[in-house]
Amino acid sequence: MLLDVILCGMILAVALAAVSGLGVFRAVVFFVVHGVLVSMAWLRLDAVDVALAEAAIGAGLTGVLLLSAVARLERLAGGGAWRQRVNVLPAGLAAAGVTGALMWAFLGLPQPAGLGAEVAAALPRAGVENPVTAVLLNFRGWDTLLESVVLLAALVGVWALTADDDWGARAGVAQHAAPGGVLEGFGRVLPPLGLMVGVYLVWAGAAGPGGAFQGGTVLAAVALLLAMAGLAPAPRVGAPALRLALVAGPAVFLGVGVAGLAWGGFLRLPPDIAKPLILTIEAALTLSIAVTLALLVLGRPEPGDGA
């Protein structure tokens, strides 16, 4: 209990630190820390799948994305004057109002009315044993399909910000590292381990915590590391293989969904073949998610920005 109180206190303190103070860099570092703490909170709340996602995305990729962005932004932005904060009082009042309302609502929640029992009852027909995976890929697969498209849309949006002349170049800023240096060494050691962990997470997701998103994120991190260590250049945005990899997940998912029409309705997975179908979808999704996330973090092609 004490543990929970301390954890909550730290989460609050870190959240406060992330939105206060002057430094952007500091705020981002606090956000990374926030991710670590929140993933612990998820464990306390008996949500290992979410803890995995939070650790991989909240503490991992989002942090990397923001850290890179801070430095890039300072490089790009000139010295123009700007205000750190405005509307402090209205913002404070609004935030306090919403918080108060939320607490009031939370305290006023009626008896728990979750779907645990319904999920448990339907689990035998879902094809996987992990209830969270069953919800993600079967009961509410439609959400998940759309979510993979959200990622893709964001990537297309980021690419659309490319300078006209840079279209077709390699994604992101051209990365390089000292040959034989520490970074490169890291880039050689970690990927095999990361690959293993990523694949393990996907495979484990059917029965226990894990799944395509968590595994895909780890694989994306591996790919990013390879790129950052200068070991593998980022792909060109026009590369056909890359594009196929991007759409593989949503396409397979959509394809299975349409095939479901033959079984009586869109996205229907017949119980006896649900497991292989889900595993197929997950495999394709993992590939797409990994590639998409890595490219999202790398950003638009900017060959001119490199050495």
Binding site: D4, C8, I11, L12, A15, A18, V19, S20, V24, A27, V28, F31, H34, G35, A41, L45, D46, A47, D49, V50, I57, G58, L61, L65, L66, A69, R72, L73, L76, A77, G78, G80, W82, R83, V86, G92, A95, V98, T99, M103, F106, L109, P112, G114, L115, G116, V119, V132, L136, R140, E147, V150, L151, A154, L161, I289, L296, V297, G299, R300
Partner: protein
């Protein structure tokens, strides 16, 4: 004895408030995106805590899986939004040399 679900739920609500305050008051665009993510994590925490309530009350194995699945979806969607926002911020900075929206300059 405090109910942990309640504790985390209220913490989540407070995190939402903090993030919201940052989102509304800060002008540096990256910090606003960051604040957006803070709000998001607060929302998810509240949601997760609400789903955990059931597990505590019924004494069944595990929390409600549906909120967990939704939260995972939400986290990924938030990441997508963050990535697009960061891309926009950088492109905007490149075009204008600003870290903020034009109307937020002095």
């Amino acid at each position: 004895m405090i109910d942990p679900a309640l504790l985390y739920g209220l913490t989540g609500a407070a995190v939402v408030g903090l993030g919201l305050y940052g989102f509304l008051s800060l002008r540096h665009l990256l910090r606003r995106v960051l604040a957006f993510n803070v709000v998001g994590s607060g929302i998810f925490l509240m949601f997760g805590a609400a789903g955990y309530r059931g597990a505590v009350a019924e004494g069944t194995a595990g929390a409600d899986p549906v909120p967990q699945a939704l939260i995972i979806t939400g986290i990924v969607v938030a990441l997508a939004a963050t990535a697009l926002a960061v891309g926009l911020i950088l492109a905007h900075a490149r075009a204008t040399g600003r870290r903020t929206l034009p109307e937020d300059d002095t």
